[in-house]
């Protein structure tokens, strides 16, 4: 292709031009606003250069919510297109691009930053640490993720979006069948974000293994921290597989190799294989921290300790191992024959056992409790039945012979949405409501919150239950249209209504944030939920050093014991506190990676080499830099503590 042709959008539509204008206007407005209110310095000092895990957590959450709406817009357009047979709202190409970006955005740029955001905010507080093990690396992780996400998101206005599905199976994703640069965006943007995620995994594993407060043995860790540890273990061992697969895909598309081509000895199955060796553990990376959130929320609002702590931990460890042994169930129909399918069918269904243990443990946590249904608790209580439906259909899909009928159909789509929305999205919304007061010092409105939860739950059921039926009736996924005579119309219309319901539900949450920001009380103390774990034992807003003195841990619920059983948490006297300095390098590297990726996508080799060298230059600079951080003096700590409501 001609050089400039690559940048053109292959299938322009008025909606895309409108988006271009909107992006331009918003950018100008942001630049103008920052200049007018003289906020550039504030933005740079307090946010762009920060290494504080709490601020990075909040930035992850903001990105996740933005991406939720980006992916949600894609979803609404898809459901609208399918609402009626032979609909002409979108053409095939546009539809293909939309379901591809919907999948990638929702999994990698919405769900991942959501859970990593909460990990960032909560884990150090829960284990009584001052920050993560490598705060600067943590900032770099965020900026790499952000660079990857932004790179992926500009695809639809520059050069065209990827259109080979979020699984990007070869040879469809190869140059021959995907000629635009869309799939290059897929390969490079996910690679950059994935590197950030891998660093997060290493960082949090080290943090959780080494930086727990004195007395907090592994078996006294709060359940969310346990789930975060296991999820990060999976990240560390699963993401390198994606790195290699994407690198091979990039080589195929940009350097003419034949890894996944069907000529010259290449093998298209290998991509599917590697993709799912990463892809299946990825699902557990998402779901385990969500389970951790539910454990915290349910035990807080049942006013009881978590039932079966040990079996909860054991089940997660087992899931972490099994998650690496089931990937073939994503392609039972590839012709490996009965033996291989049988093996992977059994390992797949085996995962239901530890997952079931967790469900029963949550139910038994309610037993003899004093249940208070707040918004986070309402999400958790809606999660259990909806997720059970998603989970049992997963067992059905695990039966490989029957899977020949479910595979590639709306039944599958229904299954994973019924798992991921109640499992992950509800958990993230529960966590948003639960941790909001700790983050921002006011609570979200309960009435609006519960209304939103009900609307979202009903929307989920309406949107996805019909797909079980249309799937069994023969509707394949990813079809941009279907005929009147197929009889799929009614199911898809109901789905569309459900999708609208979901949109209203999410809009309600945004309105709730606005409403609560304006009207909610700021006088809520540091423990508004009467919670049980350590993150609630510090002040609100959380001082940058988290805890003035190290807590002494004797049980799984140290804060609860402190409140109810009089076991003092903080015994030491205040000493000077060592903190890392802010640094601009991670942000700069994020920008460099963004341009590097952009050059790579469009095969602009000279800028690519320049920016590769610039990135290594940054790393060399880091290597020689001698920055030992700084100390916060005792007086300063005492002053902050007094201002925030006295020493604890």
């Amino acid at each position: 292709m001609e050089f400039f042709e690559r940048f053109a959008i292959p299938h322009p539509s008025p909606a895309i031009y409108a988006s271009m204008v909107a992006i331009g206007l918003v950018t100008i407005a942001i630049i103008f606003g920052l200049t007018y209110f003289k906020k550039w310095g504030y933005l740079w000092r307090e946010w762009l250069t920060t290494v504080d895990h709490k601020r990075l957590g909040i930035m992850y959450l903001i990105s996740a919510i933005l991406m939720l709406f980006r992916g949600g817009a894609d979803a609404i357009m898809m459901r609208a297109q399918l609402a009626a047979p032979e609909n002409k709202l979108l053409d095939a190409q546009h539809y293909n691009e939309i379901f591809t970006t919907h999948g990638v955005v929702m999994i990698l740029f919405m769900a991942m930053p959501f859970i990593i955001g909460f990990m960032n905010f909560v884990v150090p507080l829960q284990i009584g640490a001052r920050d993560v093990a490598f705060p600067r690396l943590n900032a770099l992780s965020f900026w790499l993720f952000f660079a990857g996400a932004m790179l992926f998101n500009i695809s639809f206005v520059i050069g065209g979006s990827p259109d080979a599905g979020w699984t990007s199976y070869f040879p469809l994703a190869d140059n021959e069948f995907s000629q635009s640069v869309g799939t290059n965006y897929y390969m490079i943007a996910i690679q950059i974000a994935g590197l950030g995620t891998l660093m997060t995994g290493i960082n949090f594993m080290t943090t959780i293994l080494k930086m727990r407060a004195p007395g907090m043995t592994l078996m006294k860790m709060p359940m969310f921290t346990w789930s975060a540890l296991i999820a990060n273990v999976i990240i560390v061992f699963a993401f390198p597989v994606l790195t290699v697969a994407l690198a091979m895909g990039t080589l195929d598309r940009l350097f003419g190799t034949h890894f996944f081509a069907s000529t010259n000895g290449g093998m298209d199955m290998l991509w599917a294989n590697l993709f799912w060796v990463w892809g299946h553990p990825e699902v557990y990376i998402l779901i385990l921290p969500a389970f951790g959130i539910y454990s915290e929320v349910i035990s807080t609002f049942a006013r009881r300790n978590l039932y079966g702590y040990k079996s909860m931990v054991a089940s997660m460890v087992i899931i972490s191992l099994l998650s690496f042994l089931v990937w073939v169930h994503h392609f039972f129909t590839m012709g490996q024959g009965a033996l291989v399918n049988s093996i992977f069918s059994i390992t797949t269904m085996a995962i239901a056992v530890p997952t079931g243990v967790k469900i029963f443990n949550w139910l038994f946590t309610l037993y003899k409790g004093k249940i208070e249904v707040t918004t986070p608790m309402l999400y958790s209580m809606l999660f259990i039945p909806l997720f059970t439906i998603g989970g049992v259909t997963g067992v059905m899909l695990g039966m490989s012979a029957a899977d020949y009928q479910y595979h590639n159909t709306m039944f599958l789509v229904a299954h994973f949405h019924m798992v991921i929305i109640p499992g992950v999205v509800f958990a993230m919304l529960a966590a948003l409501f639960y941790y909001w007061p700790k983050m921002f010092g006011f609570m979200l409105n309960e009435k609006l919150g519960k209304l939103g939860a009900w609307v979202i739950a009903i929307g989920t059921l309406l949107a996805f239950m019909p797909m079980f039926f249309s799937g069994l009736d023969g509707q394949a996924r990813r079809m941009y249209t279907y005929s009147e005579s197929s009889g799929f119309g009614i199911w898809n219309m109901i789905s569309f209504v459900g999708a609208l319901g979901l949109a209203i539900g999410f809009a309600l949450i945004v309105y709730n944030i606005y409403y609560s920001f304006r009207y909610a009380s700021r006088d809520i103390g540091s423990d508004p939920w009467d919670a049980r774990t350590l993150e609630w034992a510090t002040h609100t807003p959380v001082p940058e050093y988290n805890f003035a003195t190290m807590p002494q841990i004797e049980s799984v619920e140290p804060f609860w014991d402190d409140k109810k059983n009089g076991k003092k948490l903080f015994k030491d006297k205040i000493e000077k506190i060592h903190m890392p300095n802010n640094t601009g390098i991670p942000f700069i590297m994020g920008v460099l990676f963004f341009i590097w990726g952009f050059s790579f996508i469009f095969a602009m080799w000279i800028p690519l080499i320049i920016f590769t060298l610039a990135i290594f230059g940054c790393m060399a600079y880091q290597s020689f830099e001698n920055d030992h951080g700084r100390y916060i003096s005792v007086e300063e700590v005492e002053e902050t503590e007094n201002k925030l409501g006295g020493k604890r």
Binding site: F134, T206, V236, V241, V244, L251, H258, M267, L274, H578
Partner: protein, 198 residues
Amino acid sequence: MKIDHSLPLEYSTEQSRLRILGFWIFLGAEIMLFATLFASYFILRNGTGDGPSGAEIFEITPVLIETLLLLTSSFTIGLAVHAMRLGNKKAMMAFFGITLVLGLAFLGVEIYEFAHYVHVGAGLQTSAFTAILLTTLGTHGAHVTFGLFWGLFILIQVKKSGLTPETTNKSFIFSLYWHFLDVVWIFIFSFVYLKGMM
């Protein structure tokens, strides 16, 4: 900064202990990275298309030289750490330097080997087999190259500021990295070359 003198210098601060554990976890991730390459290699091994097979292009001599160079460099970096723990900066720097020179020699032979492959018609685009062979070797080679620069920077810092908790920590972590690359090479040597020529 609190310094604990009962431990080797590289473990002496809290931050340095975090770095060492963090690096071990990173090596765990690297195991998976190379395992994925090996899995792909084994699967695409016979995907020679119109190109040559492994047995046709592998040469034992350069491979043996590479192996000996890397094994020896792994030994000398071990000696460097040993000297470092004895507080002998001069010996440490000497062994560290020898390691880097051996690494450079390894890289030289590998570049020769690549040129040879391309010369006999086994380029990146020839077939899936040649692509995965060059990618696997190339990934290892890129790690070595990165290590050479990294090691050089550390050496400069040791020369400048002596054996401090900071520089010893960096050197120790570098030694872990270098030993790990040797382990990866052993697997490449055994299961790519020897198995290919068996």
